[in-house]
Symmetry: C2
Subunit: 327 residues, 2 copies
């Protein structure tokens, strides 16, 4: 099933109604949010892992999750699964009585810190939009997918959702109103993600943060964030690396991740531009210049994980330009 | 006197010692720091007003301020004038016993919020470096000029000093170590500065700020700063305008500037991309797209000032690409 086919009714409105697309399968990738200095405002998409959502439009008015493959800890109750509020919000916005049958294939482990809930939420929103004949803009889709984030973590963040939908490196400039700003992606930028087999709840990772921070700390943080954004546009890999410092979340959250300090040190020793916690963890990311360097970083970090005796998965990817796509 | 002449000894070391340049006159421009969302890390240079410093190298080992023109409130005691610590630090770093005779011409009113102390400090550092045959790098000069800022405001900031030296729009990514990042300057970006005849001491403007800020406020601030930096590189004037919001300093400092709210509103109504407090005030800046728009903004803001019955000066300038230059 291709994007071309989905748009057939737009191009040829004389096509019979029963030829309309009723079923579609899409995927949305994992994402690394925060990127050290960009707490709550930055995220980037990687090629894998990804979640797949198959959606069938029905007339029942109900959202029915028929199956969740690759994961047995998530609820099939649409009130407790992220796709529920996403699809419900879209149906409401359309003002129709449509329902959906849903099959979710989880390639991204829940609670891994690489946007598992965001990927499912985005895939559901992206798929539903195609079945609704592209009724909504990208920005609106981000808004709908954020409803899944609200269910998963208690607050509607966009720093995983936006790159999972659009690909690339995305800045969430503002939430009120929502503004999504795609940043330049330097061509040699590669990302390594190490996902240790442990779970950190986003809510716990949020609770351990200070509610107030010293102004001097905030200034250091936003100096680095501005440096990172400038580095991305200048394609200055050295500046990108020097800017990947987190004075706010990492000092608090590092202790939640066994071996974090050694993992980060090994990445930097192996030549990474920078490394830090992906989202609220436990995954740890490293950015590198070039695939060969990224491979050396991945191997170095993997050796540390073997030494820790903690099971893990490792991913290496350029920054994904794709975001959500039809399978 | 030209830059070429100054380098003669480098090019032709056989020139007699007494042909070395002993006296030079340079100027450094006013600067708008903070730029709303970039508190303590951003600054831009404008064409005028500017300070001029004439420097003569002597063998006395003393720094003698012969005259300060255009201002009768500044001390000629080198321990109390910003040029003193700047030149002293440079002489010490050179490891020589040189002294200087100094004439300062203040085009920038002290306490105006457009980098008056920074301009004098930079002009002194830039001039001395030329007399020292360009012994120091730009980055080192920023460091020396910051000694003047330390004297003037109690803390060694670089957000005025760096653009006064280098021109353009400058990010101070980090202080330890010091890293200065020139940002892209969109070609149609113009700056209006209204300088009301009132003085706000930088130390007072700093004291009224909260020492701690809510993390949620910090996130909003750095989202906008990242948006502004992205907007400068993308040359997206709309994004630049939407990002010019200050959640940290302006809400506290606005009350120090009589008529600030009306001044800002009049700038926005006249088509400014954004407006805010320049540095710690009382000057108010507005950024506009194109000179005609900037002129309309300047006229609108000037009408407000006339209505307030407060004397003021108004400046309109593109972002200066020059920084410090030989006169």
């Amino acid at each position: 099933m291709s994007l071309q086919k989905v748009s057939l009714q737009k191009l040829f409105p004389f096509l019979k109604d029963d030829m309309k697309i009723k079923k579609i399968k899409v995927r949305a990738p994992a994402t690394v949010s925060n990127l050290s200095c960009g707490f709550d405002v930055l995220g980037l998409a990687i090629n894998e892992p990804f979640d797949t959502v198959e959606l069938e439009l029905t007339e029942t008015g109900r959202i029915e999750i028929d199956d969740i493959r690759g994961c047995n800890t998530l609820s099939r109750d649409p009130a407790e699964n992220v796709v529920g509020p996403v699809l419900r919000a879209m149906v409401t916005a359309m003002g129709v009585t449509a329902g959906f049958r849903v099959i979710i294939e989880k390639g991204i482990h829940p609670g891994s810190g690489v946007g598992s809930s965001a990927a499912s939420s985005v895939a559901a929103a992206f798929a539903a939009n195609l079945l609704f004949d592209n009724a909504f803009s990208s920005s609106e889709l981000v808004g709908f997918a954020m409803e899944g984030e609200r269910l998963a973590s208690g607050s509607a963040h966009a720093d995983n959702v936006a790159p999972a939908l659009l690909g690339g490196i995305i800045l969430v400039r503002s939430y009120e109103p929502l503004e999504i700003v795609p940043l330049n992606v330097p061509p040699e930028l590669f990302c390594v993600v190490i996902h240790p087999e442990m779970e950190i709840k986003t809510s716990v990772a949020r609770e351990i943060l200070e509610k107030e921070i010293p102004l001097t700390t905030a200034v250091k943080q936003w100096g680095n964030l501005a440096g990172l954004v400038a580095g991305l546009f200048k394609e200055d890999y050295g500046l990108i690396g020097r800017s990947l410092i987190d004075f706010v979340a990492e000092p608090k959250r590092a202790e939640l991740i066994r071996g974090f300090d050694r993992l980060k040190a090994s990445a930097l020793e192996a030549g990474a531009l920078g490394a830090g916690i992906s989202g609220s963890g436990p995954s740890v990311f490293a950015l590198s210049r070039g695939e060969a360097s990224a491979r050396a970083v991945m191997e170095s970090m993997s050796r540390v994980m073997h030494g820790e005796g903690v099971g893990f998965k490792a991913y290496l990817s350029p920054v994904s330009s794709q975001g959500a796509v039809i399978c």
